[in-house]
Symmetry: C4
Subunit: 208 residues, 4 copies
Amino acid sequence: MAKESANARLEAFCDGVFAIAITLLVLEIKIPRIGSTTSASQFWHMIIHEWPAWFGFALSFVIILVAWVNHHDFFKLISKSRVTFTYANGLLLFSVAAIPFTTGVMSEFMMSDLAKPAITVYCFGVLFHCFSWFVFLRTAMHPVPILKDEATAELVNSTIVKYNRYALFFYLLLCLLSFWLPYVSLVIMTLSWLIWVVSAIKLNSKND
Amino acid sequence: MAKESANARLEAFCDGVFAIAITLLVLEIKIPRIGSTTSASQFWHMIIHEWPAWFGFALSFVIILVAWVNHHDFFKLISKSRVTFTYANGLLLFSVAAIPFTTGVMSEFMMSDLAKPAITVYCFGVLFHCFSWFVFLRTAMHPVPILKDEATAELVNSTIVKYNRYALFFYLLLCLLSFWLPYVSLVIMTLSWLIWVVSAIKLNSKND
Amino acid sequence: MAKESANARLEAFCDGVFAIAITLLVLEIKIPRIGSTTSASQFWHMIIHEWPAWFGFALSFVIILVAWVNHHDFFKLISKSRVTFTYANGLLLFSVAAIPFTTGVMSEFMMSDLAKPAITVYCFGVLFHCFSWFVFLRTAMHPVPILKDEATAELVNSTIVKYNRYALFFYLLLCLLSFWLPYVSLVIMTLSWLIWVVSAIKLNSKND
Amino acid sequence: MAKESANARLEAFCDGVFAIAITLLVLEIKIPRIGSTTSASQFWHMIIHEWPAWFGFALSFVIILVAWVNHHDFFKLISKSRVTFTYANGLLLFSVAAIPFTTGVMSEFMMSDLAKPAITVYCFGVLFHCFSWFVFLRTAMHPVPILKDEATAELVNSTIVKYNRYALFFYLLLCLLSFWLPYVSLVIMTLSWLIWVVSAIKLNSKND
């Protein structure tokens, strides 16, 4: 049974898709063309004017990095694979590949009159990603967990699976909120990634 | 003999090409530019108007994901390599890299007057991919199978090789049909991927 | 000494660059836009009109595939690494990343009045790639071969190193010839890749 | 504890991002379009006119290759991972993905009146990359080094960590200098990469 190597290759393929998705929005940051500007102050204005594109790139980078870290940590817990799991993993990769688009739309319009619908698109992109984690976790746990042992399965059920449900509910609320108070949704959503990273670091320092 | 590691690197290279091809059509989904729209309803119209591009991306994603799963399952059965096999594998990767183009043409034109030729292009793209599997399987089985053992070789001959021939015949029929009834071809072709995924999941649940 | 794993990672990085370079020219094959054509015959004309782009993609695919196969075969022979070798390998990757550009220029202009200079660009691209192999092989053999053992080093010296010098001389001639008889250079150069693949397959079938 | 495989996957993911970043600027070298030129001399002029784009591509290639070699060498010294380290590694990848942009801006404007601000952008890009190495090294050494053993930790502290601080100071000076003497900064910065490669090769030849 080449189950270990089977997952090794699944991980390698996922890493490829993650690596492409995480660098995708850098393509949206256009190098200014010669002739498009003549004075240094205009040049700096153009570079600084690109900041929403940089914000979008940095934000999608963080979101996909967090997704990669979680994906990578979860794969350390499983010991076999399953067809439903492989395809649910495909759905997860699809939602990861969609993050640069939804984040890019938001960063393009966030300083304009159309910030409201653009932020809604961004929030739904994150909600879809969170939903794909829900499907991914479900196929990993049902009908029989593909985890290493019983104890790991129970731990996953009482932590990751539970947190995913909270996150699903939380992001759904942010999606709805974005119809009325888009900037509040945007700030909470963006802070949620920073809090995630900081709390993961803090939790880990304790165990260190 | 470093045969195991030889295939490990062949797989890593293939995974890279698969990962790029599967994310390629996301580049076709353009982020709307600031100034191209002024009202929220127009913004939503632009986002929704992109649905054929999303359909094309999702469809090419599913086709290439199925190809990757099959490729990955087949590599678990083989134990050595061969120059003809390496180059046939290259042909398979070439046909995978062509899928985003043929699927993209179809999704661009499927709601227009030119749906008929565009669907024909899509069908021939799939037929070419199926033909490259035929060459790939042939070089793996001839003159001597590179599979793990005799039993595996017989199993592959009576299942994968046979199904590939049926698929070749089936997709050829859909290509011809697309000249008269393009939408029928499109629906059957697209359903065939969903049926493939669902039947693979069902088959696997039984064995679970 | 983690030498085995060191090369494993070097190979993984190279595979990434090879995988990107091999799929790069597919981005040059533009999906025709809705509205750019209204009749089916015009649509087919546009699709068929893209054949030089397809030819360029297929050709750069074959060139880079052959380079990958050679790279992969050579790495099976070496057992350690060296800083000069790592950087020479970088030069090789650079020349691989340049192949899509030089091949793309040629395929864009090969049916026009400017075929002559475009074919020269293509020939020099291949010459540069061949030269980077020369540097790569030199750093692998000097001052002390990094190959598995003495016998392998002698075999490499009497085959790969020698063939590389012949190839360097041969491609230099084709570069010079391209200034007078561009199409002859183009046909010989393109045939040389096919002959390479076919002869590799024939040689291998004998040993099988 | 699957710590070895954990880092294996972290390396694979990084290799994907490095491979994409290193080939990114090749997309900036546009294949001239048919019809944009009619005479051979004009064709050559267009090809040669692209030299700043080639210079930018080659330069970002060298910078990222050096970063990859250092990253790869450093990972051979560590034996475990840590959440802070994973995220600091993400910051490092972010700065690597930004190199093609800052280098591309510089190469686009370096022959124009706007060379000064463009070179400043390039210098700050390198400074940011150097700073991300500072953070990366700090998380690897604090609170407890994740290196293989005590001796390695001391060696890293007295070499890599120290050199990184010198580099940080050196690049900061070049950034400031670029406001007054941009071309001097550009030449010193660019030479610093060549000196780095040459000195690494020389150092290695001695130990060989």
